[in-house]
């Protein structure tokens, strides 16, 4: 039953959406609006499920006395503390906004900025001329990097022009192929799920 019920719900959901979008009766009944509202409520409810799941996971780790108990405690404290602050102050509250701007923004920006260091280190090690293709990729990467910054403009008009051609023509052509392939793959997977052939999401 743990497989049949979710599979049936999946098939019914697909049929309702197809009926509401492609048949005049479905359109007249305005079923799309109903299903859209259900989906929005499901999204909102999934946040609650996420919070409950995190709570259960970290409470369990605390109960078992794992050596990460301090981090579990911090996570639960921050999560419920911030939820409580939001409920009391709303998102317009001074403290709520201060916590966001003084803690989350710098942390999030720092995480993203660290990528620059990894990229610098990785490019030093990875971009080696081992073959013709590798050399081609390295030259293209160097041209795009130099053509993307004012230094490239200042050195020669060739760099921004080369970057523009690589981005607008060469990579666009390649990426279109990838996107069309991914789109067709997505459509095929949707059919497989609808027909019950693909059941990985049901752990079957």
């Amino acid at each position: 039953m743990t497989r049949e019920i979710p599979a049936t719900i999946t098939v019914l959901a697909v049929l309702v959406v197809v009926f509401s979008r492609y048949f005049s009766v479905g359109t007249a009944l305005d079923l799309t609006r109903v299903t859209d509202h259900w989906l929005m409520l499901t999204y909102a409810a999934s946040v609650l499920v996420g919070v409950l799941n995190l709570t259960r996971l970290h409470l369990d780790r605390l109960r078992r006395g794992k050596d990460t108990w301090f981090y579990d405690l911090v996570l639960l404290g921050v999560m419920y503390g911030y939820i409580a602050l939001g409920l009391v102050e709303t998102n317009a509250g001074t403290t709520f906004r201060w916590v966001y701007n003084a803690v989350l923004v710098p942390l999030d920006s720092t995480m993203y900025s660290l990528l620059a260091f990894y990229i610098a280190s990785a490019s030093f090690r990875a971009f080696r001329v081992r073959s013709f293709e590798a050399a081609l990729m390295m030259v293209a990467a160097a041209l795009v990097m130099l053509g993307s910054v004012p230094l490239g403009d200042a050195l020669s008009p060739f760099f921004p022009a080369a970057r523009a051609w690589l981005m607008r023509v060469a990579q666009t052509a390649g990426f279109r192929g990838i996107q069309i392939g991914a789109g067709l793959g997505g459509l095929a997977t949707a059919f497989r799920i609808f027909l019950g052939i693909e059941r990985a999401h049901l752990r079957a």
């Binding site: 910054v149 403009d153 921004p160």
Partner: protein
């Protein structure tokens, strides 16, 4: 070469030009000029919809873009509505864009409105094309009733008649949601503010005409600031980007020289 030396060099390459700017000029690209000209061409009073679909991690790249475009729209006497498929984007807008509007003497509810965030992604957008007020629960970001905001009288739903342009500042997949659920069905022109790392992903849609313009990361913001003649955060950060890119290229060359020398030595040892 140990990682720590690469990191030290990169820190120096970023901090020195930030402290002592070189002032290299930023030449606007076609993709940025398209957005500037689009906004220049809108009649006063037209409504521009800014989608703040990014989190704090993308602030350095996307917020300067949003600030420049928002200021441009208000300077042109356009009306601006802000919305976000990211819960953080609309809060960032409240702290960063609203003060710009007040500094230009604009009034909340008359010249600009921040609708806030609703979960649901593309489904929220589809709901907004049918009934924006109902989809947003009839309130803005602070819970003020939309009926009390005069500007909202002319925006009951997202359609071509009400909205002249959508600019989506995004660090993820929200552009696809706008394409699929709003701009393709309604015909509203769509422009994009993209992180540099996503720029190549979005380029095919610009080339096909589905995006009227794209701003490319921090450089796109700096180009827009130059077109607007209002140098800001992005312009001052471009020198640091120049030196850091140059350093990476030097490192790549250095790595290859070491690789070639190592290969030759290995060959001699084998002989």
């Amino acid at each position: 070469m140990k990682n720590r030396w690469i990191y030290v060099l990169l820190v120096v390459a970023i901090i020195v030009p930030l402290a002592r700017p070189i002032g290299l000029p930023v030449n606007p690209t076609r993709e940025t000029e398209d957005l500037f000209e689009l906004i220049e061409g809108l009649p006063a009073g037209s409504l521009v919809y800014l989608a703040m679909d990014f989190d704090a991690g993308a602030i350095p790249e996307l917020l300067p873009q949003a600030e420049a475009v928002f200021a441009h729209a208000l300077l042109r006497d356009l009306k601006v509505v802000i919305h976000g498929l990211s819960d953080q984007g609309v809060l960032i807008a409240r702290d960063s864009l609203h003060p710009i509007a007040w500094s230009l003497g604009k009034e909340y509810g008359v010249d600009f409105v921040n609708l806030g965030f609703k979960p649901g992604g593309g489904i929220v957008l589809r709901g907004m094309t049918a009934d924006l007020w109902q989809t947003m629960g009839g309130v803005d970001i602070d819970g003020t009733r939309l009926s009390k905001l005069p500007m909202m009288e002319r925006l009951k739903r997202l359609d071509r008649k009400s909205v002249a342009l959508i600019v989506d500042f995004n660090s993820g997949g929200s552009a696809a949601a706008y394409r699929n659920y709003v701009t393709e069905p309604t015909g509203i022109p769509l422009a994009l503010g993209s992180c540099a790392v996503n720029f190549n992903v979005q380029m095919p849609f610009y080339r096909s005409g589905q995006y009227k313009a794209i701003l490319n990361g921090l450089r796109g913001a700096a180009e827009y600031e130059r077109l607007l003649n209002r140098p800001g955060k992005a312009t001052s950060a471009m020198d640091a980007q120049s030196t850091s890119h140059a350093l990476i290229i030097v490192l790549i060359i250095f790595g290859n020289v070491l690789h070639l020398l190592g290969g030759r030595r290995l060959g001699r040892e084998k002989r």
